[in-house]
Amino acid sequence: MADGPALLTAAVGGERRALARLLTGIENQDPAFRELLPRIFAATRGAHLVGVTGPPGAGKSTLVTALTREYRTRGRRVGIVAVDPSSPYTGGAIMGDRIRMMEHAADREVFMRSMASRGELGGIAATTWLVAAALDAAGYDPVLVETVGAGQAELEVARLAETTVVVEVPEMGDEIQAIKAGLLEVADVVVVNKADRPGAERSARQLRAMLAGAGGRFAAPPPILLTVATTGDGIGALVDAIEADRERARSADRALARARNQLLRAVAERSRRRAEARAEWEATVAEIAEHRLDPITAADRLLGK
């Protein structure tokens, strides 16, 4: 594999091909890139990490395209990570987000990377937040992370992102109850996209009423904005709202919550790997299968407790 430190230096220096190869090494969890992680983090420049999530068909890709256009007019270099689902059967994936991103295809100040979820169920891949950090190190700000089409449980992006934008569409009123405990709970900004459709105002009102009573993560309910991503309507106001959240996202309590989530995730991942690496792993699995041992005691034993 290529020389990691040299790739990082070149990527930070603006070489796009080096950045692309760096992202591949991160995504493939190439052991040669493990040692690079502290350096990548040391090289980050404080980009605003923005997650964009919502149900399939809500217009996430189109919204990310429109956001990119707006950020570009404000002189910002935009990094984009678009995650699509991997097939659980073949491991393959089709990633089509570039279709909607065509207008930025030749813009050298936009870097877009498609990622397959590779077996992760949280709406992003295991390495997505590291890829975002590398884009930050390469000078892109904001870094927009678009999740797979999300339902109730794909909340992982909120652990990664500083600002989580949840995209809804009009006339989801009846389903709002269903998602009440899910996506909306992690929203820092709520968007009702396709607002040229009937019922948009009513949906926004319903959301507003619901969130006002919900309490949620933070004291103040998130702003709710109407957009038409295809025409650009409302996108300026949306970027204003995202920008306004940037400061709030860096408050001590939110920074701590994010760090806690990242650490929880890393600990879970590292301890899983450590346990799997133990020579007695398979024998332990067999013991559980034969009902001679419960999984919790087994886990404690494997983790050396």
Partner: protein, 145 residues
């Protein structure tokens, strides 16, 4: 993200081959490209589909950012003799020497030789089985790590 030596996941874990499927030029028919994208997904590839009417520069940009192993160009417009060599040139010109570039679509036999000389590794005509394309990509795509 790395593995301690000797862990189970340190065993060779081959990352999926990444393929860019692009439609250069002006023809608006992408059924073949979509069928191929889906077929390759079912063969375990990670397929990035860029959509219609891509310029050579857009294709090279996408290949660069996505760091793909293979670029598959679907072309039905008849402009292959001008577009395909230009795309190869642009991709190679950016230092992407190890990307496999293949083409499919309606391409007369007489043009196949010159296109291969221009750097198109293989040309898959109508009726090619997706399994054959997948096998070719697996055998000829660069080896990672």
């Amino acid at each position: 993200m790395s593995d301690e030596p000797g862990t189970s996941e340190a065993q060779p874990r081959t990352a999926p081959i990444r393929v860019l499927i692009a439609k250069p030029g002006l023809d608006g028919h992408d059924r073949g490209a979509k069928v191929l994208a889906r077929g390759l997904r079912d063969e375990g590839f990670e397929v990035i589909y860029t959509g219609l009417r891509q310029t050579p520069e857009m294709i090279a940009d996408a290949a660069e950012q996505e760091d793909v192993d293979v670029v598959g160009l679907s072309i039905l417009s008849g402009a292959h003799m001008t577009l395909l060599p230009r795309i190869v040139e642009m991709i190679r010109g950016r230092g992407m020497d190890d990307i496999l570039i293949a083409a499919g679509g309606i391409i007369p036999d007489a043009d196949i030789g010159p296109l291969k000389k221009a750097g198109i590794a293989e040309i898959f005509g109508p009726g090619t089985r997706i399994g054959d394309i997948a096998r070719y990509f697996r055998e000829h795509a660069r080896q990672r790590t």
